[in-house]
């Protein structure tokens, strides 16, 4: 088996195991490259038919290209799409630049997801996070329990010894399942290339710029790049020493810090 077959079969094993344990399961799809890869793997795991709903949390601030891609793919692949929005906060004008409380991500992403989980009573959620993308994610497990307040107590997780993934849980909790935790950014791109997985065009260079990571329009900025094909992206990442999320004003804390400093006239 080559490297990508191994990555793939490990993911598919986790996907099937999770589906077997929790019938009331869904997948969180950001429309980005990682969760689209996960969606592809799920489709493979169940021979082309995705047997559970796919949840897209819509902050309403996503790129138009992302909405188009979402609707096109859900039609082509024929899965059940649940769009979750925190309508109440959106009505009140919550947004990154609206000068409301500095809680945009919390309200429009986290709380919107909470609402969906509650409404549909999901017991587990698939997420396309990767161990290498962010410092805090290095502590993640394939099966990661959350309590009813969404708290992740990473110092008190059941041990995952060898392949004995812990996939039973108590009432009022839900599991986060991370089938592509072991992929690196480069693995993702090489796998996308090998499998010819569709991706949002924002990742490809246009006029010398492309997005390495996508999310909400106000909080993402493109990187300088001429990589307009998957091969060129692979070469760029292979030789780059810049962090993947550097183009995202992100690191939520940095955004909030910046907003607070600006509110006092700094920066």
């Amino acid at each position: 088996m080559d490297h990508y077959d191994m990555l793939e079969s490990k993911s598919i094993y986790i996907i099937r195991e999770a589906y077997y344990r929790f019938r009331n399961i869904a997948m969180l799809w950001s429309v980005g490259k990682d969760s689209t890869t996960l969606l592809w793997l799920i489709r493979k795991a169940f021979f082309g038919k995705i047997p559970f709903p796919i949840v897209h949390i819509d902050t309403t601030y996503k790129f138009p290209e992302m909405y188009r891609f979402r609707d096109k793919l859900s039609k082509e692949w024929g899965f059940e799409l649940i769009v979750g929005r925190n309508e109440e906060k959106l009505t009140l004008g919550m947004g990154p630049d609206k000068g409301m409380k500095l809680e945009c991500c919390t309200e429009l992403k986290t709380n919107a997801l909470k609402q969906v989980i509650k409404k549909y009573n999901f017991k587990a959620i698939f997420l396309g996070i990767r161990r290498d993308e962010h410092g805090i994610r290095a502590k993640e497990r394939y099966f990661s329990p959350r309590d009813d307040k969404f708290k992740w107590d990473y110092e008190n997780q059941p041990a995952e010894i060898w392949d004995q993934y812990k996939s039973f849980l108590c009432e009022e909790e839900h599991y986060r399942v991370h089938p592509i935790l072991h992929f690196t950014e480069l693995d993702i791109w090489r796998y996308i290339k090998r499998e010819n997985i569709p991706i949002v065009e924002l990742y490809l260079s246009k006029e010398g710029k492309r997005f390495r990571s996508i999310g909400c329009v106000p909080c993402c900025s493109p990187i300088e790049s001429n990589a307009s094909t998957i091969d060129e992206i692979i070469e760029e990442i292979r030789t780059s020493n810049q962090s993947e999320r550097a183009g995202r004003a992100q690191d939520k804390e940095n955004i909030y810090t910046m907003q607070k400093l600006r509110a006092l006239g700094y920066m």
Binding site: G99, S221, E253, N254, M258, K260, L264, G265, Y266, M267
Partner: protein, 431 residues
């Protein structure tokens, strides 16, 4: 000091009043807005003028207070910093403080056991302490702002807030003002509860609402708006002090200090726009933040008046060799001192070179020059604004040379004290 009981009984209470200038505090006391504090002063304390850190930014100044050393030793030079050898912006926090805080030293020497540390700027994320620490500005996530975490729910239930919503002032000034008052009250309640219920040897409690008031309302300092606000501050101070002495007696060490002063802000001066016009700074508009700094740049500014020479061995697009250093510094000083407003008034009062104001192994991280403006001209280091002079909603600006220090009257005060000095008083007291 001779009336101290046993060594174990030594207690110190320090109150921080962020951004309160010496002159204003004196006037408010004389005016009768702070009778509680007036009484405390009469009972044996003196009100002194003190210098802030350079630059006179809360995170820098409070870190100098907490460590008793200058930025060259503690490594904090502002709310923003560039990552080494890049133009990538970063936001220094408590993890970046390179010198130990004094309560750590006191705990290690077994001179104190338990501390209560509330709301000092630049203590986020909260770090371990024997006792409790609640972070101040810029604390983002409540859960990471409290140590130990067992206090998180208690504080949330007490409706403690880390900071008011600073954006609100743009839409609702009255509401914002009320929030500030409410926030002081909550801080007062939580402090009182902790001081009463917990055993402590050292308590440091800061209010930052004063600084917020001054940023947005300073030109109303002679109105009832300030009088009422400072009555609330007076109540906070008096009540906190009383709670401490009711518990431990009046031979505790009691200090009050601010981290910088304030004056009226007339206009914001965007130094980078000036440097750009003078051909000293080249901008690439397609980039973000300090990545905008382009080839051919000689120097650039960061908030508030920090000037960095674009040395080739320090920055990716640096072009200045170290051998040109003296010549460039002279040129920059001359250019900056020549900056005038449209009435022909000079803007920059003094320029310091880093080796003259900083000592210690982190001096190499320091800005090459630090500018101090005349009152009214608030120096800004953003790269966004193209106009040199701009005006926003801010009414007050920080000052370097008129912070406040209230100490027991027996304390020996030198002529020219700065914010590193209170740490010495505290260390001497416990030793």
């Amino acid at each position: 000091m001779k009336h101290k009981k046993s060594k174990d009984a030594k207690k110190a209470l320090i109150i921080g009043i962020d951004g309160v200038p010496y002159g204003l505090l004196k006037e408010l006391i004389e005016k009768g807005c702070m009778d509680g504090l007036k009484g405390i002063l009469k009972s044996g304390y003196t009100l002194n003028k003190m210098k802030a850190s350079l630059p006179d930014i809360s995170s820098v100044s409070w870190t100098s207070f907490m460590t008793g050393v200058n930025p060259g030793e503690h490594g904090i030079f502002g709310f923003t910093e560039l990552k080494p050898n890049t133009y990538e912006i970063s936001f220094p926090n408590s993890k970046d403080i390179k010198a130990p805080v004094f309560w750590k030293a006191l705990t290690e020497k077994k001179l104190i056991k338990s501390s209560i540390i509330i709301n000092i700027p630049n203590t986020y994320p909260a770090f371990p302490v024997d006792g409790i620490l609640v972070s101040g500005f810029v604390a983002i996530d409540f859960d990471r702002a409290v140590y130990p975490s067992s206090y998180i729910n208690t504080l949330k239930n007490m409706r403690y807030i880390i900071d008011v919503d600073l954006m609100k002032v743009r839409q609702d000034r009255d509401g914002f003002y009320k929030d500030l008052i409410e926030s002081i009250k909550k801080r007062g309640n939580v402090s009182k509860w902790l001081l009463r219920e917990k055993d402590w040897d050292l308590a440091i409690i800061c209010i930052t609402e004063t600084d917020r008031l001054h940023h947005f309302f300073f030109k109303q300092k002679e109105t009832v708006l300030f009088d009422n606000f400072y009555k609330e501050v007076d109540y906070f101070i008096t009540n906190t002090y009383k709670t401490a002495i009711e518990k431990y007696g009046d031979d505790i060490l009691f200090l009050i200090l601010s981290d910088h002063g304030f004056v009226d802000l007339d206009i914001e001066v965007n130094i980078n726009a000036y440097l750009k016009d003078a051909g000293i700074l080249k901008i690439d508009k397609t980039k973000e933040f300090y990545e905008k700094i382009d080839n051919g740049t000689i120097a650039f500014a960061m908030d508030p008046g920090r000037i960095y020479i674009n040395y080739e061995d320090r920055f990716p697009r640096g072009s200045i060799g170290i051998n040109e250093s003296d010549k460039i510094k002279e040129m920059l000083k001359e250019t900056l001192l020549n900056l005038k407003d449209n009435k022909g008034n000079r803007i920059i009062k003094a320029i310091f070179e880093k080796q003259d104001i900083y000592k210690g192994k982190y001096t190499k991280m320091a800005p090459d020059l630090v500018c101090i403006p005349y009152n009214g001209y608030d120096l800004k280091g953003n790269l966004r604004k193209e106009e040199i002079f701009t005006k926003d909603i801010f009414q007050g600006m920080h000052t370097w040379d008129n912070a406040v220090l209230i100490v027991p009257e027996k304390t020996k005060i030198e002529d020219d004290i700065n914010i590193e000095f209170p740490c010495k008083i505290i260390m001497d007291f416990f030793s």
